[in-house]
């Protein structure tokens, strides 16, 4: 093993550490992805309290972020299931506004999918 080899090992280890810390960071990241059908509309930072408006199938869908939680506050649908659902905050949880085809997902590295 010569000096170059050691350098290479150090570089590889650094790459591994960077990638690993990235994945750790992502687990804790407080981000919500908002989709219309298959199109990513918004990547929302949950640490900023703010209200967002997106266009769903039946018109305006209003999304609110408060204290690291996210919910739908207004939409046009027969049962208002997605606004009745209230806040979600844990990774892996999601809100689906079915008639509006709006999906809010909190990404989760531990779960691949969920039945409910």
């Amino acid at each position: 093993m010569n000096k170059n080899d050691i350098k290479l090992i150090v570089i590889v280890l650094m790459v591994i550490i960077i990638l690993f810390s990235f994945s750790l960071f992502r687990k804790k990241a407080n981000i919500a992805n908002v989709y219309f059908e298959n199109e990513l509309l918004l990547e929302i930072d949950l640490s900023v309290d703010k209200t967002y408006e997106v266009d769903g199938e039946n018109g305006k869908v209003v999304i609110e972020v408060l204290n690291n939680q996210i919910r739908v506050v207004e939409e046009n649908s027969p049962y208002h299931l997605c606004s009745k659902q209230g806040f979600i905050s844990k990774s892996g949880e999601s809100i689906v506004c079915l008639p509006n085809k709006i999906i809010i997902e909190l990404p989760n590295n531990e779960l691949d999918t969920e039945v409910s």
Binding site: K90, E93, I103, L111, D112, T113, E114, V115, S116
Partner: protein, 303 residues
């Protein structure tokens, strides 16, 4: 030495394999399909096929669409139906017998009353005039004079099983389909999928099923209850009481075949938990119940 490191680096980058995800909107639910280790062209081709597959079965079986084949049969029992619809009806007939009439697909008249109540919950429906009949069949022929078939309890699992089988037939073994509470998982790059089961009271995961080449189906979940005068009602109707079933808050069935799991989860939802534990011993499945007093009960073979 350099070679070893180079290979190692290649392996490292290889960990982030391509994943393609698509949402479809059919059968009153969202169907999410994820494909792994495929090219983009292949993924798009396959998504197109699956979109048409789910759409086709929605058009065949939509109880509330007067133009669906099923509605035409419900209007006129002599209407000539396709083999695809006939196969589903035969499965329903078979399970009516296997479950002593508990899983009765011929209660569309009753499920419609409760559906209308959910749409407009003014007063509890009057069920005095509701007659429950069971399907009668012989040699692929329906013998009843009139039918009221609602395939809601079996069609999602059935089509999802077809979807998974199609993917495998075109060489895509690594996939994950979630059709609104019906999960069918193929092979996984890490050897298993983590499939969460959401609590029916809080929407948080209370159990994680680890596995590949499996189906996981829940009946009675969080989003399918509705409240009227402080009482929680469900969309799964018990043909014996004529009321929404209330034996438990939810039940999840884990097995190989998504169609079977869907049928069994509805059946178990209609059954007393102890009876259900015995009932599933005839099938190669596991089950997990969330009771009315928020306890978790697992089938004897659950580990």
């Amino acid at each position: 030495m350099k070679k070893v490191l180079l290979i190692f680096l290649l392996l490292l980058t290889g960990c982030s394999k391509q994943e393609y995800s698509k949402n479809l909107f059919y059968m009153d639910t969202i169907i999410n399909i994820k494909l792994y280790n495929v090219s983009e062209t292949k993924a798009n081709e396959v998504f197109d096929y699956l979109d048409k597959l789910y759409q086709k079965y929605e058009e065949l079986t939509d109880f509330y669409d007067p133009n669906s084949e099923l509605s035409k049969l419900n209007d006129d029992v002599n209407y000539e139906i396709s083999n695809e619809l006939l196969e589903l009806i035969k499965i329903g007939y078979e399970w009516d017998i296997k479950t002593d009439g508990l899983l009765n697909i011929n209660i569309g008249n009753l499920t419609k009353i409760w559906h209308d109540f959910r749409e407009n919950p003014v007063s509890l429906p009057n069920l005095d005039d509701v007659k429950i009949e069971h399907l009668k069949m012989e040699d692929d022929k329906i013998l009843n004079d009139k039918v009221n078939i609602d395939l809601g309890s079996i069609v999602k699992g059935y089509v999802t099983e077809k979807a998974g089988n199609y993917l495998e037939s075109v060489g895509i073994d690594y996939y994950l389909i979630n059709a609104g509470g019906n999960v069918k998982a193929g092979k996984s790059n890490k050897g298993y999928y983590n499939i969460g089961i959401a609590s029916p009271i809080s929407n948080e995961t209370f159990e994680i099923v680890k596995g590949e080449n499996i189906s996981v189906v829940t009946s009675g979940g969080y989003e399918r209850f509705y409240e009227y005068n402080g009482v929680m009602y469900h969309h799964i109707i018990d043909p014996n009481t004529l009321y929404p079933a209330n034996n438990m808050k939810s039940v999840t069935v884990i097995g190989k075949d998504s169609g079977l799991c869907d049928i069994l989860s509805t059946t178990l939802f209609l059954m007393d938990i102890d009876k259900g534990k015995e009932f599933i011993k005839d099938y190669d499945v596991k089950a997990i119940w969330f009771t009315n007093d928020d306890q978790i009960i697992k089938s004897d073979n659950y580990e």
